[in-house]
Amino acid sequence: MTEIDDHTLIPGLGRQLLDSSLNDAALMQLTEATPDYTILPWVNVVKIGGQSIMDRGRTAVYPLVEEIVANLGRHKMILGTGAGTRARHIYSLAIDLGLPTGVLTVLGTAVAWQNAQMLHYLLARHGIPFVEPEGFGTLPHYLMAWNAVVCQGMPPYKLWEPNPVKGRIPPQRTDTGCFLIAEVFGARKMIYVKDEDGLYTADPKKDPGSNYIPRISVQELLARDLDDLIVERAVLEFMVRARHIREIQFVNGLKPGQLTAALDGEPVGTIIYQDGGAK
């Protein structure tokens, strides 16, 4: 019924793509060697924490907004937001009601969306738009014209969110959504703005003997199999497979200048890097 001319196919791989099953392990391996083009190599993805920043209100958000504005002429930024305490409330309510993980994702997305709207209102006078996932085609224009856009951090999986290995909380939330934006566009940097100086061997707020970790490879961090982490596990799992993003950086958004330093390429906070570089 359906045929495609050979001349519209890339040599070798194109014919294989038509003739083999896409589930064929050998075909998947062949696609490994294809080239990588970076779509937005100059953009920085900055994730603003929900519980760690937005839920603190003006004391945390206003100085950070000022710092973002001060960087507008110097760096281009996709600003994604986390969800925070209202997401925790609706997750516990929805779990109690017996609702599945996909529904929790729909609900949690609304919270990240609210935080993104609030951040957008504070940045609106500088021309910075809020962009829904469906509107991402307009990103290059806004980034060129106004240097930043605001989006909600959740990936747009809606009811299609896969179940977690354990429990009911959606495994791919705003850390992951922002990471995937950075990876697909081949971003210059992926910076997470939270309320800690970075990664510690234990929770520094509970354990005074905990040690600060300025730099660690994702492979080593995964091997340590810590009970708790500074970032969603899915980010670390995807980072191992990433073709563009070689490192992610965590800075304290409560300390003025940390975001700027990270944007300028300074090793502030904690950097988690891919051992051996990206694929």
Binding site: M1, T2, T8, L9, I10, L13, G14, L17, L18, S21, N23, A25, A26, L27, M28, L30, T31, T34, P35, D36, Y37, I39, S52, D55, R56, G84, R88, H89, L97, G98, P100, T101, G102, V103, P156, Y157, K158, W160, P162, N163, K166, G167, R168, I169, R173, L180, I181, V184, G186, D195, D203, P204, K205, K206, D227, L229, E232, R241, R243, H244
Partner: protein, 272 residues
Amino acid sequence: MSLDRPGAQHVQSRLMRESLVDKNLLARTESQVSAILPDANVIQIGGRSIMDRGRSALLPLLDEIVANQPQHQMIIGVGAGVRSRHIFSIGLDLGLPTGALAALSAKDSAQNAYMVSCLLAKHGFVYLEAPFVVQLLPAMLAAARGAVFNGIPPYSLWEHPPSVGKLPPHGSDAGSYLIGEVFGARSIIFLKDVDGLYTADPKTDSHAELIPDIRVEELLRRKLPTLPIEPSVLELLTRAKLARSVRIVNGLVPGNLSRALAGESVGTVIRE
């Protein structure tokens, strides 16, 4: 990581101030899930295996769907097929990332799903884009006992990087499974052009034998080089809360869909 944030304003809840990354906390969220649409059946029509064959394959299948409309609610997911193979070929050559390939491919399955909905329109079936699946599906099932959706999940630019290579790991099999799981569907049936799962590829190996019933752990252990469904479905099945099995049947054989809907053992069932 940090649990106590004195500066933050909190809403009272069991998860208040908790790290949602903490393994112990995540384990505590394990509890009963209710099925939202327990009477609905998810039926996936393969892109390459059914749609690309045109009327000879599709029209008898749609007649069978209509014949089952009085007894069964059917949510019909549709796959992409050969046009996606072509755009993967071009996209890979251009160096585009997995998320871009996923965004492009989802348009091919949307076209196929829209054609299916046109052919079923006189029976009340409509095509629902992802936001409408979220909001309108129950109304459509109540009105027409069926609806058509895009089998490829709406991951778009946010598609997961695959463990090997660059092809999007979540196609229309994964998307259809996830819809079955989230709604707690009665059954998930994949309509393909093979009789089910074989010990080897039946198209190239005449000694291949049909596997009528297998557990997903056993199937993962066998590490078969080619499967009739996306490998990501197997991984999703290991984490099932409600949709604990899927069935693969030959959609080119008249009566197979009806038998599968009636709960008869046809094709291959893969169980959690």
